[in-house]
């Protein structure tokens, strides 16, 4: 039996490079898992009025921030050292964009905890509590789907997120209606009404971030961004066809 042929230096280099890319994916998915955990946890804090846990979640955001920065710096470092092309470059850029969406989603849960402190002690009707719980479930579901779409490079799921998000948008509208009704019946004061509207908006924004992640995943796989639509309209209006980047990029341009 002959001795195994050692991999060439170039092969070793490729292997190390792919390990780096795998680590990038692992880290961004770990970040996503941390963000997903904050959604039900923050909602429980809000509905339970737990001030100690609220502070704990706010403090825990530092770890999410730290990991976000590390992953983003890793992206730049890989681009600088490995000069990735085409699909790999889009993959790394997508990771850097996902980091920002995830980090912002975690910030929104921090905002919800801060709002819960501002309306501490205010009794909430079963209808409003139910709407909050439903929004939390929907926001978490969207974020998990978005991360699954990234992990599986699933364009069908990625582009479906904007339609799935309609449920959360409707819940937000229902919440605004419930806030108006509760205030008109003197069940909540104006301050609580404003905080509830903000909380509802924060959940809706988490859904928007999940949709953004879906768009980025679709870009990663296909090279098409939603901003291309506006660019196409502008190109049509001005009659200019060059420089707008509206041709779908090819995998190996």
């Amino acid at each position: 039996m002959g001795r195994p042929i050692p991999p060439s230096p170039e092969g070793q280099h490729r292997h190390a490079y792919h390990r780096e890319l795998d680590k990038l994916d692992t880290d961004v998915l770990r970040l996503g898992a941390m963000v997903c955990e904050t959604i039900p946890r923050g909602t429980q804090i809000l509905l339970g009025g737990d001030l100690k846990e609220a502070q704990s979640l706010i403090d825990a955001d530092d770890a999410i921030d730290e990991l976000s920065i590390l992953v983003e710096e890793d992206c730049y470092s890989i681009i600088a050292r490995q000069a990735p092309k085409a699909g790999e470059l889009r993959h790394i850029i997508t990771v850097s964009k996902l980091v920002a969406e995830l980090e912002r989603s975690a910030d929104l849960m921090v905002n919800i905890c801060k709002s819960s402190r501002r309306m501490y002690g205010a009794p909430l009707s079963p209808q409003i509590r139910g709407l909050i719980a439903s929004m939390s479930t929907e926001a978490n579901r969207l974020m998990r789907y978005a991360l699954d779409a990234f992990a599986d490079e699933d364009v069908s799921m990625a582009v479906a997120l904007s339609d799935i998000d309609d449920t959360l948008d409707q819940l937000n509208r229902d919440m605004v209606g419930a806030i108006f009704a509760a205030h008109s019946e003197d069940m909540i004061d104006l301050g609580v009404a404003v905080q509830l509207a903000l909380i509802s908006r924060y959940y809706e924004r988490i859904g928007d971030h999940a949709v953004n992640i879906g768009e980025r995943v679709a870009y990663m796989v296909t090279g098409w961004l939603p901003e291309h639509n506006g660019a196409l309209r502008e190109q049509h209006r001005t009659g200019r066809s060059s420089g707008l980047g509206t041709d779908r990029p090819h995998e190996d341009e």
């Binding site: 600088a80 108006f180 104006l190 009404a193 903000l198 209006r237 980047g245």
Partner: protein, 220 residues
């Protein structure tokens, strides 16, 4: 690509970001006008002009990706390109937030009828536009000096707290509607300020090379 040609391309990229920032500045001025007057024509102009901003974002972002793939830049050149990618995203988001303010045009008469809330919103929008313009100027001059103005104002204390106080003082049958509409506009303005701060952090990172400013970004 020869070094001189690459440098020229980077300079051209910087100039195109400036042009996009000018368009976003126009969008902010129109958003302020919609808030002040409730003019639906201005709101429509703002919304229509956003396609040009989107087009610039697509064109320049793809240009940046092309440069990364083709030139494999390092050090300051890499910092410039990744920073431009980030700034393009922030500018596009500011444009979207300006649209959000324009879409509140139907609620404008209601907000304007409540002078204390209306006045604070107008002051906040002036402050936010001032901060955006400072960052835009900083990018234009590749200098952090214009950013000094960002340190001299505390929008939270000067505007956000008074806005909440004025909203809490509302009463009557329309109080909730005015409160929610005002908070929505106020929050959009607040986020525009945050995106401007992120651009300022990027500029500081770009000028100094100190990654501590990247860490500052996540606080906004």
């Amino acid at each position: 690509m020869p070094r001189a040609a690459f440098s020229e391309e980077l300079e051209s990229l910087r100039l195109q970001v400036e042009v996009m920032a000018l368009h976003v500045g126009e969008a902010l001025a129109r958003a302020r006008a919609v808030l002040a007057t409730g003019d639906p024509d201005v709101a429509a102009q703002l919304i229509a002009a956003d396609d040009a901003i989107d087009a610039m974002q697509v064109s320049l972002t793809e240009h940046c990706y092309g440069l990364l793939a083709r030139e494999a830049p390092v050090a300051a050149d890499l910092r410039l390109i990744v920073s431009v990618i980030r700034v393009l995203h922030e500018l596009e988001r500011i444009g979207d937030l300006a649209i959000r303010i324009a879409k509140a045009v139907d609620d404008q008469p209601l907000i304007a009828a409540h002078a204390p809330v209306f006045e604070v919103l107008l002051q906040l929008s002036d402050n936010v536009i001032g901060r955006f313009e400072a960052v835009r100027q900083g990018w234009s001059e590749a200098s952090t000096e214009p950013l000094d103005v960002l340190e001299t104002t505390d929008p939270l204390r000067e505007f956000a707290d008074p806005l909440v106080s004025q909203i809490m003082a509302l009463d009557g049958t329309t109080a909730v509607r005015v409160a929610l509409a005002s908070m929505a506009v106020g929050r959009s303005l607040d986020r525009i300020g945050d995106h401007s701060q992120i651009m300022a952090c990027r500029l500081r990172y770009l000028v100094t090379g100190d990654p501590v400013y990247l860490a500052d970004e996540v606080s906004w």
